[in-house]
């Protein structure tokens, strides 16, 4: 038995001890950032048994008649913690579970919300992305957390190709489907009542971004989002509420540098493996998890930009 499976088995057999030493999520982690709008910040870490993949921001919005979940969390266990946080605040039913994009740290909690059969909302391209990657993600998450804590893949049944409005009673949420940016399945939301933009992973704060969508596309979508007048923004990673569009400054600087330095490396004939260690190196120290993601971001950018 490998150390990993031993540890995963331990987690499965004695979740209470693991949670006692370091609880993945506590009720107090959920913060009401605006009336009827509650979010929890994910930890700036890689997924682990200790954090149950609760590494992305998750939350919910309460309307007069129903509740919308915006990113159900990184594992079934994470989704269950979110469900408990909702139950502690309202008896209104969860009618919508929004999956902001295909990445596992945002969506594997969806299986915690089967009761009442809420609409599972996603980008029009999300079913295809989940068909290719869902099982792959699930298998790796299950290897880490155990199959039960990881949860199954949940496929959206309300698809957004352009824009769509969810009605929670007296509260309307406008969803917007983006062109390839962070991924090719990115959705953002706008809560009209509080003027809050929920940018999901089109906005990273403090924790280095990752991407497998389109680098130039992401910068373009950021420009479009910056035109939205919002009282506050909720990023996919980082502090759950901050000012918009000022909060995008660091991300824009990083992505722009990734673009220009990768292009320069290609033009100068710098091989891809050397580019991976050099490009955007000046950003090290400004971001959590920089060395875990930056080299990979450079490889992806290089592969995209060398065909320009």
């Amino acid at each position: 038995m490998s150390p990993l499976t031993r540890r995963a088995a331990l987690f499965g057999a004695c979740a209470c001890c693991a949670l006692a030493t370091r609880r993945a999520v506590a009720a107090s982690d959920f913060v009401e950032i605006a009336p009827g709008m509650v979010f929890r910040r994910g930890v700036d870490e890689q997924a682990s048994v200790a954090n149950a993949d609760a590494i992305a921001n998750t939350g919910f919005i309460v309307g007069a008649e129903s509740v919308a979940v915006i990113d159900p969390g990184g594992s079934l266990a994470d989704g269950q913690a979110l469900r408990a946080a909702i139950a502690a605040r309202t008896t209104r039913p969860v009618r919508f579970v929004v999956l902001s994009h295909v990445h596992p740290d945002h969506i594997f909690g969806a299986a915690a919300f089967t009761e009442g059969a809420p609409k599972i909302v996603g980008h029009a391209r999300l079913p295809a992305a989940l068909a290719t990657r869902g099982e792959y993600y699930r298998r790796h998450l299950a290897e880490l957390l155990g199959a039960e804590a990881a949860g199954p893949v949940v496929t959206p049944n309300l698809l957004v190709a352009d824009t769509h409005t969810l009605d929670l009673g007296d509260r309307r949420l406008t969803l917007r489907a983006h062109r390839p940016a962070h991924t090719d399945t990115d959705l953002t939301l706008f809560d009209e009542r509080t003027g809050t933009l929920i940018a999901a992973d089109l906005l990273f704060i403090g924790r280095v971004p990752s991407f497998d969508g389109d680098l130039k596309g992401w910068l373009a979508e950021l420009d479009a989002l910056a035109a939205i007048r919002a009282a506050r923004v909720v990023p996919g990673h980082g502090p759950v509420t901050t000012d918009w569009p000022a909060a995008a400054a660091d991300l824009r600087r990083y992505l722009s540098l990734l673009l220009t330095e990768t292009r320069a490396a290609i033009a100068a004939g710098v091989p891809i493996e050397q580019a991976a260690t050099r490009v955007a190196a000046s950003e090290r120290g400004r971001w959590a998890l920089f060395d875990d993601y930056n080299p990979r971001n450079v490889l992806t950018a290089y592969h995209q930009l060398e065909w320009e």
Binding site: L4, P104, L144, E273
Partner: protein, 268 residues
């Protein structure tokens, strides 16, 4: 305490690069047994000696992206070596590439981008002109590179399959070696990626041969298999005796073939 690098890392970049998946094999005896098996399948009972003074293998200790791992095959004794094999022991289809050098090749540095499916030894095996095999090895931590779903470039790779580009790195002068990067648009399906619409595995369709020549003289021939990353990029050196055309012929496993010619002229 388990070192952090030895826990699977759930990378957001679309792929989960498990740094230590359940199927990982970092047991040295098992790796040696695997190499014996693979070696016999590829080279039969031919002896393989220590290649340290003849050949080198430059690859990262840990893959940042298991579906795009840059690898360099280094030939330290070009006069002695006629070709070099890249073997990724733990991959399905371990023989990733066999390069046969032609008269105009500069074999000192050849680069490829490969997929690596699990923790594994990789081997560079040089074949000398008198028929000896000499190898060096490199252990790499990577996982899932062969089944990783393809990224957002898949559409472009499919639409433009066979489209080629050549980058010359450094100045060109007659009789002087120059490094070049040949890029070929091709998804290089290995039969282990799932199709989003049909939910079946996309049938394998990958580049099998790349023939590079210069004005009718051979530079190199690459025989490859499912381990090359999508949109293969092959870095190689060659010595153009004069201005002329570098010709490339690419053939994939479906029988499709593409031909291209690139002008190589000294900068004046």
């Amino acid at each position: 305490m388990i070192p952090r690098r030895d826990l699977p890392l759930l990378l957001l970049g679309g792929a989960l690069v498990a740094a230590r998946p359940a199927w990982a094999d970092d047991d040295e005896d098992k790796r040696a047994a695997r190499w014996k098996e693979v070696r016999e399948a590829i080279f039969g009972d031919r002896a393989i000696g220590d290649g340290t003074s003849v050949v080198g293998l430059d690859a990262p200790p840990r893959a940042e992206d298991a579906a795009l791992v840059p690898v360099a095959l280094l030939v330290k004794d070009p006069a002695r070596v006629s070709g070099v094999y890249l073997v990724i022991d733990g991959n399905p289809g371990p023989l990733a590439a066999h390069v046969h050098f032609g008269a105009l090749a500069d074999p000192r540095r050849l680069t490829l981008r490969v997929r690596v499916d699990q923790y594994t030894d990789m081997h560079a095996v040089a074949e000398t002109r008198d028929g000896a095999l000499l190898a060096v090895s490199h252990f790499i931590k990577a996982a899932g590179g062969c089944s990783t779903p393809m990224g957002s470039q898949l559409d472009a790779s499919l639409a433009d399959a066979g489209f080629m580009r050549l980058r010359l790195i450094g100045p060109v002068a007659p009789g002087q070696p120059v490094q070049a990067l040949l890029m070929v648009r091709h998804p290089n399906f290995n039969g282990m990626q799932m199709d989003p619409v049909t939910r079946n595995y996309t049938p394998a369709r990958f580049i099998q041969t790349v023939d590079i020549g210069f004005e009718g003289q051979p530079v190199l021939r690459l025989d490859s298999d499912i381990s090359l990353a999508s949109d293969p990029a092959i870095g190689f050196g060659f010595t153009p005796p004069k201005a002329g055309k570098l010709t490339v012929a690419v053939r994939d496993s479906s029988g499709a073939a593409w031909h291209e010619a690139f002008d190589v002229a000294p900068l004046s």
